[in-house]
Subunit: 329 residues, 2 copies
Amino acid sequence: MKKFMNSVETMLHESLAGFAHCHRDIVTLDSDYRFVRRVEKKSGKVALISGGGSGHEPLHAGFVGYGMLDAACPGQVFTSPTPDQMIAAAEAVDGGAGVLFIVKNYAGDVMNFSLAAEMLANVETVITDDDVAVERSTHSMSRRGVAGTLVVEKVLGAAAERGDLLAALRDLGTRVNSVTRSMGVALSSCTVPAVGTPTFQIGDSEMEMGVGIHGEPGRRRVSPVMSADAIAEAIIRAIVEDIGAQSEREVLLLVNGFGGTPSFELYLMYDAARRQCAKHGLQISRSVVGNYVTSLDMAGCSITVTLLDREITTLWDAPVHTAAMRHGM
Amino acid sequence: MKKFMNSVETMLHESLAGFAHCHRDIVTLDSDYRFVRRVEKKSGKVALISGGGSGHEPLHAGFVGYGMLDAACPGQVFTSPTPDQMIAAAEAVDGGAGVLFIVKNYAGDVMNFSLAAEMLANVETVITDDDVAVERSTHSMSRRGVAGTLVVEKVLGAAAERGDLLAALRDLGTRVNSVTRSMGVALSSCTVPAVGTPTFQIGDSEMEMGVGIHGEPGRRRVSPVMSADAIAEAIIRAIVEDIGAQSEREVLLLVNGFGGTPSFELYLMYDAARRQCAKHGLQISRSVVGNYVTSLDMAGCSITVTLLDREITTLWDAPVHTAAMRHGM
């Protein structure tokens, strides 16, 4: 295992400390490393809190700031944060209008956010499960929450900023998740620092179609590696089959890198994906390409499609000022 | 070699097409793929043009837009663009106030930009050579231009936007380059698509200290891999020894990923680097962490320090709206 690190034990805290120092105009790190929160607390607004295992950066701490999250709770690598983290975060950022948890659908995250919710008043939860690859997986009893979580967090962040109430935000989050689908592919494994060896074995000519963001198995192992066009065709077809034909529908297209794939290849995949979208009559009106929901150093990417309507588009376009996403201000 | 691609021959054009489509609100791709330019040409302003071999994305096309470059000329992977590209770009974006070329110090780039300049009127050139690792290298007769080029392009872009004249911009660029130093380290090689095998061999416990952004050799091969703190200490010491002691001086600190290293590790390296800066009395007042000047899929990073003064800080903070860097608007 080759990584930039001092020790496995200190790695997460050092990375969080670096992140918080670099973006100290936007975020503050709790002194016990339980959460990252916005520098400026806004009262009267529903507080949005997300979190999950580390190793998916910039998700979630990179999305803390104006127009997106109020706090994020980082667990150890690929390990759920504990309920006390979410409780501490809620106490720090609740502005009197309640707290919305945004949780990726993994058993540990769902359980721990649920335990925290039981200890707090005025909490609602949105669970993301946008991954169409498999119906159940290593860490989840149903579909996994992956890169589409970015879209849910951005749209809800804008809605909270304009003053939407807690129940409305919960319903909107559920709706955005329901029109969002993703699927990923891995060219390499990732290596969890505390383990020290790759999460799964993959041959020099193999790829994993439908991989999860912790290296969970997908739909099938493929050899040799498919062309970019064939990968995009398979993923976009899987998404369209799942969400239903949407001819002439405007969509957001997100090509998300898993951490080890350079943007040179991600933009090439975006080009392949947009050609496939055109074949299915999808009109790409918003686009994102980059490393947003990663899997440590995994080489690979995922493609996410969100069906847009006027409300979602307006909220997507609203100003946001976070470490990893910034526009309009 | 595992990459997202359809063929080696079409890879660059497909990646550029994807980039240009994704960011069509900011850039336009020349129909012959010779350059990427701003959507909106601004007359009366000096036009800034950069370029170089591809494989370093988002440099340079990701820095085209308001407050930074007017055009970027992409060569094939790790290969200089040809003079006709720079000439076509200059003709497309010259707003009547002349053209400034910003060129990384590699023999091919310097020669081809120079040939283009001979064919054009009213052109000046700034050459970046911020890499302190080695005094001469595989592709350059003197120091290499690396991630510090980002700082030069940002500062000059803001100065051009406020109306600085050509000669003043050339002098400012030379000055910013002269107060900017970088050094990098590789944990893995990179693989040029047309070659298909890694550019250099590196063992499972080795790192290359002072590596170039094309995988050129650095100062020494080290085994085992040093701790993050030891790497940061070596790099910051090399930078400070070169630039001279600057106690209490405000600096910009850039930790740049080479493409295969996730931000989890980059922020950890930033944390290590800021502790080393503190030891040398450097006050970090501006920070950047991310993949900006990459080396295809290389795992590794570089650290850049720019000595700030009021003018450079003001220009750094000025609004910018490009694919890879955006703030203040």
